[in-house]
Amino acid sequence: MEGELKELLSDIKTLKNSLPDRSQYALIENGQGSVQKSGGFVKNFIVKCSIQDMNAEVVDSNPYSRLMALQKMGIVDNYERIREFSVAIVGIGGVGSVATEVLTRCGIGHLLLYDYDTVELANMNRLFFRPKQAGLTKTDAAVQTLSDINPDVVLESYTLNITTVRGFETFMSSLRNKSFCSSKDGCGVDLVLSCVDNYEARMVVNQACNELNQTWMESGVSENAVSGHIQLLIPGKTACFACAPPLVVASGIDAHTLKREGVCAASLPTTMTTRWELLPGLLVQNTLKYLLKFGHVTPYLGYNALKDYFPTMEMKPNPQCSNSACLERQKEYALAKPARDAAAKAKMEAEAPSETKCLHEDNEWNIRFSAGGYHPRASKCR
């Protein structure tokens, strides 16, 4: 329709120029103005429509062209698989909301959002929410924004407090629900991201994931907003959130680790730069690596903004963890070890022979590779 309006405009111009009688010019210019306005109106209505398949064509109108490039460059095998994945994000605040936006723009299949808070002007120092959304629940505001950005993503939102008994039951059943992709084993979601701002909620997510044997990632920003971290938790394999809680106390412990992160208005300093923007980026990057199986999925990555220090580490589970579900998962993980080792061995054996595959059938110039001794990589053909 835009094209037709453009044509109309150019026809009017031609007509105007051909008129010897200038007295009609004002009328014609009015008409031109109206057509131009309509053109602007129409442009605003060009809504992104849902698509069937992700295509890799590099054209302006393809929202996935830059993402599919990851596949073309050999970083990711089959990027389109992202449409099969389901990610639950608990906490749609400074970190969570940005994470949902990044995943939405990446074309994730299904997002489940959980938060019971409302958008306020005090939230405007962080990305994502807009001032005119103040008063809406964070979940409603998020769905509003995200569905506009990418209608291909299936959005499910829950405005509830997961720490109450009823909230927890709804939380658990929503994670188990396989209506998005019934062929998944285990839960209906592939990953849970915890972007909450308090210890209690993290413990609840930990409890749920331990019971459901669900891998999850936890993120946090310190109360003074100058450091943050992301952590990968695999029940039974890595430490769970209760394995080494910040509350393991000898008397005289520094209680700073226990403070609520970023909620108590009294103790929150003016949160400046860093973390809100960086942390969701780190979190989603780790998420994509985990889901699409490329790169190294970090078990823990910290960020100290003042020193630009990024520590990493691995935390093993605590055999005396206070969480009984964690202990059960640890037992199961240990029992499954022989099966894992056998599978790893088989995989290595399957990969080895291809390295001695001949690259060239002929060797016209009789080029030889000479090494000190037998070298499995040195093909005789080279």
Partner: protein, 174 residues
């Protein structure tokens, strides 16, 4: 127990400790825990009455005992201020303490989270964790709510944020 005043400390040591480590999802064990909770609450309330400091009333709002409501009082300058009190038992109880709420004061003080949840001192959580599962609702009230009222109500009254119910005013809190 550094950081607590001596009255709180001495009161706390007299409240019976609980033994059953069970949360609201643990069926019969939770029923046992609830019995212990009531015992401790009754003991604590009797102690308060004996010291002429009966400052709260709470009861379970549902048969499962996962939601509690009631009232609490604080006396400042010879006037008694009364507030509604409510809280849910979190699913990870007793590892995590209940979040005590005073909904009428929501938005009036910075020492409060959304919905009126009181902001506890830095000393509360380590002590709670160290003593899990021995501490229960009575201990949370003694260690959490009582010091909070003592710290915040005088400030709120003196600054005019809350008014006694006898002061005729359209925006008064009882």
């Amino acid at each position: 127990m550094e950081g607590w005043d001596s009255t709180t400390k001495s009161t706390l040591t007299q409240i019976p400790l609980l033994s059953v480590k069970a949360g609201p999802r643990d069926g019969a064990a939770w029923t046992q825990r609830l019995k212990e909770e009531y015992k401790a609450l009754i003991a604590y309330t009797s102690m308060n009455k004996a010291k002429d400091n009966d400052w709260f009333r709470i009861s379970a709002a549902n048969p499962e005992g996962t939601r509690w409501t009631g009232k609490c009082w604080y006396i400042h300058n010879l006037l008694k201020y009364e507030f509604d009190l409510q809280f849910d038992i979190p699913v990870t109880y007793p590892a995590t303490a209940p979040e005590l709420e005073l909904p009428q004061l929501d938005g009036k003080t910075q020492k409060m989270y959304r919905g009126g949840k009181i902001c506890l001192t830095v000393h509360f959580k380590p002590l709670w964790a160290k003593n899990c599962p021995r501490f229960g609702i009575a201990h949370a009230l003694c260690l959490g709510l009582a010091p909070w009222l003592a710290a915040e109500i005088p400030i709120l009254v003196d600054s005019g944020m809350i008014k006694h119910k006898d002061d005729a005013s359209s925006s008064n809190e009882s």
